[in-house]
């Protein structure tokens, strides 16, 4: 069972965060809020999203699982205005999510959860390097890198205490360094990994809205991007596998 009211902007933000990686997902509800965890088709990136019940203006739910067609949701929510209030309602016996806003009433058929990939295990990778950076800065560096290359290196220079993002194209090179005054070094140990900009671009758009993104890095290891949504009442974690260039 689910009966909740939420601001359109918050719901859209959450849907956008998920749709950056997958077209469908399993949404878990319980008395504390809703959550999802999904891996993209190529097993390269993972999203974990949690929306606490405080993010909703009213929330009541029991433990259940919903198969959501994210691509379809995105289309439907495209017409919502910023401050609309949306009511979501799911009863146990029917396989349809009732969504109402602005006097419209949608009845969205849910996907059979069994057809959606199983939830991945929660990640337990140790990533020592940690920095925190404004989401907008991160996104502009990603956009700049995409001009010259299809991959981007993220790293921490421990000696100089610099966080850098660099992209190497066939002919051109771009590098952006962030010093202590621009990022906060939570744990400034040496780290460097290379990532596909295909993924980074989609994730960057979502992260650009976050005040602060915590980046966890290792050496040739995945990166974790962790940030708040819904004014601190929700949380998103992206995990992205690196590219490793054979020399």
């Amino acid at each position: 069972m689910l009966k909740a009211t939420i601001d359109a902007d918050i719901l859209k933000e959450s849907i956008d965060a998920i749709s950056a990686l997958v077209t469908e997902c399993r949404l878990h509800t319980d008395e504390n809020g809703i959550s999802t965890r999904a891996v993209d088709t190529a097993n390269v990136a993972m999203i974990s999203l949690l929306l606490k019940k405080e993010a909703f203006s009213s929330f009541a739910a029991t433990r259940s699982e919903l198969g959501i067609d994210i691509a379809k949701m995105k289309n439907i929510f495209g017409m919502m205005a910023k401050n609309d209030m949306i009511t979501l309602e799911l009863t146990d016996d029917i396989h349809k999510l009732q969504v109402s806003f602005q006097g419209y009433k949608y009845s969205i058929t849910l996907l059979d959860e069994n057809t959606i990939r199983k939830d991945p295990n929660p990640p337990t990778i140790e990533l020592p390097g940690k920095v925190a950076i404004p989401g907008a800065e991160l996104n502009s560096a990603i956009k700049a890198a995409a001009v010259v290359s299809d991959k981007i290196a993220l790293g921490i220079d421990a000696a100089k205490q610099i966080f850098f993002m660099a992209a190497e194209g066939d002919t051109d090179h771009i590098r952006r360094e962030f010093g202590k005054d621009e990022v906060s070094f939570i744990n400034g140990v040496e780290a460097k990994s290379l990532f596909s900009l295909d993924y980074m671009k989609d994730m960057g758009k979502v992260m650009s809205r976050a005040e602060e993104v915590e980046i966890h890095l290792g050496i040739d290891h995945p990166a974790k991007f962790s940030f708040n949504i819904a004014g601190g009442n929700g949380h998103v974690e992206y995990l992205l596998a690196p590219r490793i260039e054979a020399d």
């Binding site: 077209t23 088709t41 390269v44 295990n121 337990t124 596909s196 596998a241 590219r243």
Partner: protein, 382 residues
Amino acid sequence: MMCATCKGKGMCGLPQCPVLKRFHAQARTAPVREFMGYSPSLFIGSYGYPRVAGGPLLIDDADNPPSWVASGLGIEDIVDIRARTIRGMSHVTPYLPALQELAISSIPLDVEVRFTRPVSFDLTFDGTVAPVGLSGSLERMKVIDNPKVDPSVDRVISDTDLGAMGACSELHQSGIDVYQISGLMSGGLIGRRRKVVPTRWSITAVDDSVSIALKQKIARYSSIDHIRVFSNDLYANRIIVVLLPGDWRYEMIERWGPRSLWSGEKESITVDREGMKKKGYSPISGAYYSARLAVAEYLEATRQCARVIVIRNVSADYWAPLGTWVIREVARGAMNKPGIPCETVDEAVTIAGMASGFPGWGSYSTLLPEIRNQRTLFDFRF
């Protein structure tokens, strides 16, 4: 090396394509002024668009490339059939209703045609459209048969609120092959704002529209588990399809061998790729979309998603450009075979290199380094 990209479109600015001019060869003219027989389809030229000329194709053949392949015709046989084909030409408008009857019919129709002058031999080749040998200006045309119309064709052409892309995809889903769909598009029978479309444009437009719709579906299926290499060879066109696990990506590498149709003394290689979205028209032109259609049809039929690399290697024995249907049918043939399973990417690269006769293809691919270098999350301890 513009020729391999242009394929006779006239990008060099010469009045006539020097490559295609070579085929203005032997004429076996039968200077008839009247024709009574079958017309399998219509043809709309692209010259002078939007004031285009068009008319019926007249031949006792179904104008259906899959049947040419199935009956084992060689390049010579096909050129021979097409050299006997008459292309009736005229301003489209007065004959449009008759031409539309040809387009909607699933079988060739009996027609009576009178030309203003005896037909002349004018064998034209073009990279996209199958060649046609004779042409004549229409004076009169009469369709004698009643067209045989598939119910799904009837439904889609009567629906004026269905966009052209949706119409292509719906017809394809109902089992109408792209050859008839492109005829319907050429005849201005689908879409919201209907227009007569030159045949060479409608061929690629249909390939593109159908495979875009398939692509959206494929993206939702789970990935294949193992690497597979498919290959097929016809009319000196070798097509190798490598399917690799992952989300939808498509890359095509086209090689025109030395002294083949569109290359000079040296080989000419063109590469293009896409993800979920494709920007602009492919430099490989129609072939890119035809091969993509064949692979997308396979993935949709097996309900799988994959990363796809298509290698087309054309040797000098492909002496006459028959049209993009060659690529479509060769690629479809490849996907109908079981394919060779491979353990590793390197093994697949080697097998594809041997099968294509183009061992160095790997260095032209941009998708391959991405696949090789990209780790998955499962490579790390969870």
